[in-house]
Symmetry: C2
Subunit: 302 residues, 2 copies
DNA sequence: GCTACGTCTTTTATCGTTATAGGACTGATG
DNA sequence: CATCAGTCCTATAACGATAAAAGACGTAGC
């Protein structure tokens, strides 16, 4: 095979939402803009929709014939890029309990298991190596360092340095800076969580991510901002597989964020710093607790 | 082509130094250890040396027949891995004056120019993206951010944070920690530079690199240590192409390092911090000066 | 005359293949 | 009997090929 058509499939699924029976579709360029793909891909989608009997397409006129049904959608697992599949599989392996630090990793086995090419795995490994969980020995294999307690501590050491500096920079931003408006919006979203039913708290990680990214953005430093990608990825996968106390954890975070936001608003760097530290300390303890639990499970199991 | 035999060629050249006429060579395993390659590669080298009439090889006996001549060596440019060639070419392009921030970069053109495959370029770009000089837009091209003043400032902001923390950690290391002995050795090397002829100062960058790596090591934080790779690479190429005032710059650095080392030795974190800051400030000004000079050159030229 | 479409070219993502390097096992030999 | 070499297998580095997606350009239609 060659390049996968996941962009096409993903955009196709998205485009189905636009099909209201009896209406007509906008221009190709407009569709391209809305779907975030090129005109070439839009044309491929339109062709496919014609073939599926969803629309009639004659030059400028794109007439919707019928509303899409469930079977018109491509299955979700076909809409993910190969790189994303590799990432998921790799993370689930690294963060699962059955990996010992220092164990070596075989590119071609992994590729075969996943049904992707060695290059796909290889490129992922290169990209991923900056996350500090794997290391390469030249002309030898990759070594998995393990998602250990040491890793979490090192990660948080840098995170704290970066986020404190960003928080201080945030406080100093002029009031007319758009970040303040963004903070207002994010605060409102937090307040909505306060009264929301517990189940909705499951959506919190996304907000959490946006909140911390907003703060890191104030540093105006690409290295600081990029580093948040590492944290974000680790947390994303980590919490996906460790759901214990998820709701309490999120509820606590909402409250801590609100204090943190108040600190930023106060205009006092020390206040912001205080609540920032407090929140990060909680986050670190949570991660460490989970790391230890996983380690114990491994020691018991092995 | 497939995998390049640069490891073989490099090790072959190195192995020629072991050929003293009339002597016999050690075992394959021993040679492998000394050359830092596998036994397979050693055997390939021995085969080649037999073919070149350099040695006679019969089972355990490897008799040296003649001393190697200049033409027995592989040309140096053939001993570099493809990845290294890509790196060099790319850096010389990015750090040269004719690149404007925001300009886009074409993988296949570059590959063709260099005579390497697109994958080689691609993998380099992925690896290099963490350095903050390039960015990828999914399914689109790479964008060169340019080695601008902003880049230098952001780099130094993080460098200062990391190195100050490492220096403080260094001061707190117990006296029996091997890092102190390493510091002694490095200090001695610095003192040797003090009285050395100016020409020898050209060798200073290597010592500089080892000195700062030693300090960063005290942080015991993989993210801090890894970040020094970014700095190291940038400086390596930057100073390779900007030789203005090189000797003064190095002489100043030697003196600042000696103060810095004294600060670390004093046991006072504040002293270490003071001289660390001072040295980093000088380094930043030097880099910024060069960045501005390059920018001016571009503005005049364009 | 501006916008939208038809067509073509360029570029990227991904694949499968191959030569080189690493490494394990085992019998030979001093 | 420990070390060394013969043999073979595996893994990685690098390549070239190919289909998907992006993008450029000219022309047709409102």
């Amino acid at each position: 095979m060659s390049k996968s058509d996941t962009v096409f499939k993903e955009a196709y699924n998205q485009s189905l939402a636009l099909l209201v029976e009896g209406s007509v579709l906008p221009s190709e360029a407009e569709l391209a803009r809305r779907l975030g793909v090129s005109r070439t891909t839009v044309r491929a989608i339109l062709d496919a929709q014609v073939a599926a009997g969803l629309i009639a397409w004659n030059r400028r006129l794109k007439q919707v014939l019928r509303a899409p049904r469930a079977e018109d959608y491509f299955p979700e697992d076909q809409t993910d890029a190969v790189s994303l599949r590799v990432e998921r599989a790799f993370m689930s392996r690294v963060l699962s309990s059955d990996i010992r630090p220092g164990s070596q990793f075989n590119e071609s086995d992994f590729a075969r298991e996943l049904g992707v090419s060695t290059s796909a795995v290889r490129e992922f490994m290169i990209r991923f190596s900056r996350f500090g969980l794997i290391e390469k020995q030249r002309n030898r294999h990759w070594v998995l360092n393990g998602f250990t307690e040491a890793f979490s501590l090192e990660l948080f050491e840098v995170r704290e340095m970066f986020e404190l500096r960003s928080a201080r920079a945030f406080v100093r931003l002029p009031r007319e800076h758009p970040a303040w408006a963004a903070l207002d919006a994010i605060e409102a979203e937090h307040r909505a969580f306060l009264d929301a039913p517990r189940a909705r708290l499951g959506d919190f990680p996304d907000l959490d991510d946006r909140f911390h990214r907003l703060i890191h953005g104030a540093s105006s430093n690409r290295f600081i901002i990029d580093f948040y990608d590492v944290i974000s990825l680790i947390f994303h996968y980590h919490y996906q597989w460790s759901k214990i106390d998820e709701m309490e954890r999120n509820a606590t975070a909402v409250r801590e964020h609100l204090d943190y936001i108040a600190g930023l608003r106060s205009g006092e760097e020390l206040d912001a710093e205080f609540y920032c530290r407090k929140h990060l300390a909680t986050a670190r303890e949570t991660l460490l607790g989970a790391t230890r639990a996983r380690q114990d499970a491994r020691n018991d199991g092995g």
